[in-house]
């Protein structure tokens, strides 16, 4: 597979996941501000922007601004709208690789984005976020249903899961920073679609430990950090069909494997007590994996600018 295409697929996976997760994070944030009259809006907004890697010098911030920056900014690939547009832009360059269904889904979503500001105005942000999640689900369903499990698919799923690790870590950090009151864990689990599973698993024992443990370590819930790392690891393994005899073959595999075992073999209590550094470490892991994957599979995918010279 062409390096450039592999890179595009990887980023389609990342951007779609990013759009979805950012929508979830924003949703939780807004619900919290609504539900808890004692929360300082400015502080909560600063905290959220900080976790999402946005500058927080100016202020004070309102939720409207946060929605603008993280939700509707067309030029930023880390906003919901921008990420979906970037996903579609990447897909344009590899239409002949992704299935027509996947392309049409991304393209239709992109055309739908033009309506986003109006939708936010008329039906509220929640409806818009709901729509984004639905579109992401359709996209995920179509990739699973219509793409063969070849290299391209592996890169897409790899991207999706790296991004998921990163975003789930950020989601947890917003709560870690906000002090993690019980009602806020509740909205958080709800927004992750994990509420029912969580209840069944912990039989109603709702506390922040269990919630963090669930989102971080649950082996069965697909949005947990552990599950995402495991999928990413298996994608990387499948991309290297011929492993050497000594250990694992690639840098990326080593980095992901180390992160996964770090979660797997450290006790939950230990992890939760040390949550801040653990989450920061996960974000770093993601950026390291990204570099390692780029180095190995996406060599030189940008155009060369030539200079000319002539001599007598």
């Amino acid at each position: 597979m062409l390096s450039r295409i592999a890179e595009s697929l990887y980023w389609i996976g990342r951007y779609v996941e990013r759009a979805e997760d950012t929508a979830r994070i924003l949703d939780v944030h807004l619900q919290r501000i609504l539900a808890d009259p004692w929360t300082s809006e400015d502080a909560a907004c600063r905290s959220l922007l900080g976790v999402m890697g946005k500058p927080v010098e100016d202020g004070p911030f309102t939720s409207g601004q946060v929605i603008e920056v993280l939700g509707l900014d067309q030029r930023s690939p880390s906003s919901v709208v921008g990420a979906l547009a970037a996903a579609r832009e990447n897909a344009r360059g590899c239409r002949e690789i992704i299935s027509s269904d996947v392309w049409e889904c991304l393209n239709a979503t992109y055309h739908g984005l033009a309506r986003a500001p109006r939708q936010v105005e008329s039906q509220g942000v929640h409806a818009f976020f709901r729509w984004v999640r639905d579109r992401s689900a359709v996209m995920a369903g179509l990739t699973d249903a219509t793409m063969s499990r070849d290299e391209g698919w592996l890169f897409l799923v790899l991207g999706r899961n790296i991004e998921r690790v990163d975003m789930t870590a950020r989601l947890l950090r917003t709560h870690e920073r906000a002090g993690g009151s019980i009602p806020s864990w509740l909205t958080l689990l709800r927004s992750s679609g994990a509420w029912e599973t969580f209840l069944r698993t912990y039989r109603g024992a709702l506390d922040d430990r269990h919630a963090a443990e669930f989102l971080l370590l649950d082996r069965l819930f697909p949005r947990s950090v552990f599950a995402a790392l495991t999928v990413a690891e298996s994608c990387l393994t499948d991309l290297e069909p011929d492993p050497g005899r000594a250990g694992v073959a690639t840098d990326a595999q080593r980095i992901v494997g180390r992160a996964r075992t770090g979660l797997e073999f450290r006790g939950p209590d230990d992890l939760i007590n040390d949550l801040g550094p653990v989450l920061a470490g996960l974000e770093k892991t993601c950026s390291q994996v990204n570099d390692a994957v780029s180095r190995r599979y996406f060599r030189q995918t940008s155009a060369v600018n030539w200079s000319s010279g002539a001599l007598a």
């Binding site: 597979m1 062409l2 390096s3 450039r4 592999a6 832009e89 344009r92 360059g93 239409r95 002949e96 027509s100 392309w103 049409e104 393209n107 239709a108 055309h111 290299e151 890169f155 991309l239 599979y297 996406f298 060599r299 030189q300 995918t301 940008s302 155009a303 060369v304 600018n305 030539w306 200079s307 000319s308």
Partner: protein
């Protein structure tokens, strides 16, 4: 119920559907019979479905930087079998002559020595690329794909308007148009035998593989595109997909020691044949524009060394220069010893003595075209131009007579087209596509019909905001449709009756009840 053809007028120009008002020509009878009873609302709904399908599939055309659908009119254009035969043979004849000409001007130059084409025409052609001299295509083919633009004059005669032997585009619309039309006008498809167009990618791939460097038994073919921002990107992707080959950009390819390879996740992989959709100027920064970031450095010398085949060949533009066009009938006689089957449009060569004065006296009756303008750019139609436009073009022509040709204004033929909620006659042209595999020249039945949507408009190019029509070539009553179907040795295996899908819980009893009711 409003009649779609209400207030339909004939002319100016040959009307392809009607010999006289209300009386369709034989080839259009089935279509007319289908359209006649439809209300404009019904047709409007179908047109809406058509437009929506195009937008969702991303079948677009970038015009002035804005991505927009290339509008497909719902009324197809129909060409009878016998008429098509003439077009097909005529187009192939032209390609054969142009191939011979290209081999000659980039080689011995006999046609110049014999004075059939003056040397000055070649020496002054912007597209005569001396860097391409000495590159010998492995199977002798330089024009792997051609698009020959035809029009029908006031008498219905097909005439050649221009040849496109560089990187003709539009074939994807031919295929997409057919797929879309089959969905919105199924009843006409059922009543009409239309030659299929879907074999184009296979024919092209065959021709490209046949053009591979000597000694390569299983050539790797790629489609080289300038990238997603190119107006024809949709087509590049489609052709690559339907041929089952990689769609690459310049940055995916690297040329080391005349061997071309693409960069993949598993390392570098050899490339043998490049169907390029990048202009010569941008193809290889070593020989052409050094500031090109979409080309592949070293490509031209790799082709010269016989390590890779570039299709279409570099430098073909010398053959579709519009001044050279005026010599094509001579070239057909010279190389093939045949009479041209498709006439040109009457054209003046402004660089010949006395002609310029004659033309300048009647600019307002003629069509003025820059010799290397593509996509209808720069064309001035004298009868429709304002005084100051004529003055401006006069100035340009006087400054550079070699840069222009003048043609008689032909009222292009017309086909009913949905405008608002009525059908109206609109001018059309036709671009058939020909593929040369070195053994034979195959012409895709039909081609791209472009339609000028504004009333009376004669410039049909998509880059000038035109639309397209599906183009149906009717099967001859005596021949089967398409390629002969191989007859299986044994009879068809009778298919076993299929079991219904497994029912879910609570579904099975209902089925039993139904059976009991039978």
């Amino acid at each position: 119920m409003a009649d779609l053809f209400e207030e339909y007028r004939l002319g100016p120009g040959w009307d392809e559907m009607f010999a006289e008002l209300g009386v369709p020509r034989a080839s259009y009878e089935a279509l007319h019979a289908t359209l006649q009873p439809l209300s404009s609302a019904e047709l409007g709904v179908r047109a809406e479905v058509l437009a929506r399908a195009f937008l969702d599939q991303g079948i677009t055309f970038a015009l002035k930087g804005v991505e927009r659908p290339f509008p497909l009119d719902i009324v197809p254009r129909i060409i009878a079998a016998a008429e098509w035969r003439g077009v097909e043979v005529g187009v192939a004849q032209r390609i054969r002559a142009l191939e011979a000409f290209l081999a000659d001007v980039y080689g011995a130059g006999q046609v110049l020595a014999d004075g059939v084409v003056p040397r000055r025409i070649i020496a002054t052609s912007a597209h005569y690329l001396r860097a391409a001299a000495g590159i010998t295509p492995p199977n002798g083919v330089r024009v792997h794909v051609a698009g020959v633009d035809l029009i029908r004059d006031e008498q219905g005669t097909f005439r050649v308007l221009e040849d496109n032997v560089r990187i003709p585009s539009g074939v994807s619309y031919v295929m997409e148009n057919r797929r879309a039309m089959a969905q919105v006008l199924p009843e006409v498809f059922a009543a009409t035998r239309i030659l299929p167009v879907e074999s184009y990618p296979a024919m092209l791939l065959t021709a490209l593989r046949a053009a591979a460097p000597a000694g390569i038994s299983d050539p790797a073919v790629v489609v080289l595109s300038p990238g997603v921002y190119n107006s024809a990107y949709f087509e590049h992707a489609m052709i690559a997909r339907e041929m089952g080959v990689e769609l690459v950009e310049g940055r995916d390819l690297v040329c080391v020691g005349n061997a071309v390879a693409m960069r993949t996740t598993a390392g570098e992989q050899r490339v043998d044949v490049i169907y390029r959709r990048i202009d010569d100027d941008f193809l290889d920064p070593v020989h052409f524009r050094a500031d090109s970031v979409i080309g592949v450095a070293g490509l031209l010398n790799a082709a010269r060394a016989g390590r890779v085949t570039i299709a279409n060949a570099v430098g073909n533009g010398v053959a579709d220069d519009k001044l050279l066009y005026t010599y094509v009938p001579e070239l057909i006689r010279y190389y093939l010893n045949e009479e041209p089957l498709l006439p040109n449009v009457d054209t003046y060569r402004l660089d010949e003595p006395g002609v310029l004065e004659h033309v300048l006296d009647r600019l307002d009756e003629l069509v003025l075209k820059p010799v290397d303008g593509a996509g209808g750019a720069g064309i001035v139609i004298g009868s429709q131009a304002m005084r100051h436009e004529l003055d401006a073009v006069r100035e340009k022509i006087v400054a550079n007579p070699r840069g222009w040709i003048a043609q008689r204004e032909v009222k292009l033929s017309m086909v009913p087209t949905l405008i608002g909620d009525r059908l109206r006659g609109r001018h059309v042209d036709l671009r058939p596509f020909a593929v040369n595999d070195g053994e034979k020249i195959w012409v895709l039945p039909g081609g791209l019909t472009r339609v000028a949507l504004p009333e009376g408009e004669l410039v049909v190019n998509s880059s000038q905001g035109g639309g397209s029509k599906d183009t149906w070539v009717l099967a001859s009553p005596t021949s089967p449709v398409g390629e002969p179907v191989p007859i299986p040795v044994a009879g068809p295996v009778p298919s076993a009756p299929a079991a219904p899908p497994d029912p879910g819980p609570g579904q099975a009893p209902a089925e039993e009840q139904q059976q009991q009711q039978q």
